[in-house]
Symmetry: D2
Subunit: 226 residues, 4 copies
């Protein structure tokens, strides 16, 4: 793959960059500290855009992707309704992958939680743990998981612990009658997010135009190719 | 329900009996210590047979069920190929439910494990814990789980711990790259097995003739009625 | 042992009663539903009083113990300052054991938590889980544990989950730099509390006059007799 | 500190090196790929030797430490009886710290396990988990822990899981009657070992001559300075 990586000098961007470099050609793009300041500055062709910058920037990237008729992976959160609408419009012409939590296992964990909730009569509690510098609680993943689980269960409660340098641990307890099921996801280090981005990039490259999320990747790709 | 309970004075039988009695009429059957020594001794009609005795005995029970055109729940393990064949033959005429692990959560746990294995690239290990008097290791549930998981994964390893009065804890670890998923099922007490039998009895009563297992109960019943 | 059991027909009292009966002679005392309505009604001698009733009642029991020069185990919570003072005064003449959490393992768990906190540089979080009918949160044990740990650590946080029929699970996480230690105590059923009371009764019987708690039992008795 | 780091270009050595460099002056020593090939080549004075090479090499290092009257930290495993005897002889003249598992938390974990075993009547099982490339099982830490626990408990069993890139997780389960205690130590990354070495180096620098281990560090240093 020849990749244009937007947001290449950010925290996540630099890990993605160093992972991709081992096998692929990259054009790093960033307002500062990168080889190119914008996608338009790249004088060569690229196969795919990976954008790990910010919502505003990602809108320009997706328009560039449409112009070049190439796929794009957007890996940042916090798009406005309007930005999302625009992105989905673009997805009619090219493959667009929008990912909030890049760890493949986190998506599997979420889907398995829903699977259990649908089948097991129980009270449900989500307990999440992160490093002490994480200010918001519960985590975005816990909030999203709660919303998903409440489609099946009434009143899913959550709790949070902050301490040390925990990358991210999420635990769902299903308290049944005389038995319980517990499902845990542990991110061991921050590389896992970068690695997820690289995996979905290879996946989305081969797709038809459309709007894709982690659920598509997990359900269609991993199940079929196992 | 009016239930003929075969094996009523066994360890499991007596718990099932006391649970059922709260809401249903029971005719307890056992070679000793029960009101009736055989199904043929019961001078009344019954709606369903629950057999918690042994493979040999269950063959007689299923034949009695066919004669009376009523459903049967068989909750014992260790049937020979031939016995199984006979039971399945009977299932053409009446609903037959054959259950190995009666805890509903244990079935959900097993299915969720397979769900994760199919989607998450990882090494898999099963660790099971039981009370110190359990002689066989790994447990029957762990063996069956391993067989199921090996349809997707190479070489699923297992380990066992024996101690105290642990009813039954099964833990599947999916070790991925930079992240891991862990799924745990804990049986808190032995009533959970009796409770499962009572639940499936109510389920199978309303089914057409056929051969049913815990998977049918979990997938069709609980998902639809949640 | 010949035991006068005050509060014999309460929830905890009846479990203690049925455990003790297997090996000891008991005189059950309670305002209703028991053989005797007060200690004074017992026309025989007894070796020890076990009081599982309530703070007010336990004051009468301890006075009776002083009169008879026999040891007493008090296993109820919520004594006023004044009541405690009186109880400790009595302990100058007879052995008095006052226990809040009767599970021996819960005391060991608490002491081991303090042991770790004193040695391991870390942030600390207590997560406790109980059945859905438990109204107060965090649990009394978690509150006491927090108080103990805060002698060593700043700002120990807590969280609570309520669901199913969980008897009581307490988990302390010590988040260090690049490593973490987790200590968990699980009460598997309610008998554990009754069993603890019986054990401390046998212990306190052989002690000199004085005021004893679970810590004395765990540190002096179990360590020496292992 | 001015440190002579022997084994500086090994796997562990290079992590120790990069950690120390942030605050201290280092002279890296190694047979290849280092600034100096032996301690004797260093033309400057140093305050302490840290040896992360191998048993044979560490014998030379400890002799050099004696000559220079400076403390030494030896962080490699597998010394012969004879080598150990020599090292302990040297410890009469200088402070010698010999450490097998460098993670401070792992030592606290071990001591807390013994603390619980001494107080809690239970069956004990050790379950350890490591990455799939670890060939030996059970781990050295599990073997040592088993030996320590068997001073108190009969027959401590162990089990092992290998998978993914798990750095090292050790779990001790104490199965009591109606309750259980579980203690877990998780090494989140390999830096934890290097960090432990740096901490003990600062500790041992201020000690009198003598033979020190992780237990001394944990019990004397952390408890007093908390």
């Amino acid at each position: 793959m020849v990749v244009a990586l937007v947001g290449a000098s950010g925290k996540l961007g630099s890990v993605v960059s160093s992972l991709l470099k081992r096998q692929h050609l990259i054009f790093p793009v960033d307002l500062k500290n990168a080889e190119y300041r914008s996608l338009n500055d790249i004088p060569y062709e690229y196969d795919i855009i990976i954008d790990v910058s910010c919502p505003q920037q990602s809108v320009f990237s997706v328009q560039n992707a449409v112009e070049n008729k190439i796929p794009i992976v957007i890996a940042c959160t916090g798009h406005s309704e309007e930005q999302l609408k625009l992105i989905k419009k673009c997805a009619e012409e090219i493959p667009v992958f929008l990912a909030y939590n890049m760890a493949v296992g986190a998506e599997v964990f979420k889907e398995a939680s829903v699977f259990i909730a649908e089948r097991f009569s129980s009270d449900v509690h989500i307990h999440e743990q992160h490093h002490k510098f994480k200010k918001d609680a519960p985590s975005g993943t816990a909030v999203e998981l709660k919303r998903e689980l409440e489609k099946t269960k009434n009143d899913v409660s959550t709790s949070s612990a902050r301490g040390g340098d925990v990358v991210g641990t999420h635990e769902v307890s299903f308290y049944g009658q005389d038995e319980l099921i517990k499902l845990t996801h542990i991110a061991e280090n921050r590389e896992v997010f970068a690695r997820g981005i690289c995996k979905v990039a290879e996946y989305v490259r081969c797709q038809r135009p459309g709007f894709y999320t982690m659920a598509d990747f997990v359900d269609n790709f991993t199940v079929k190719t196992r």
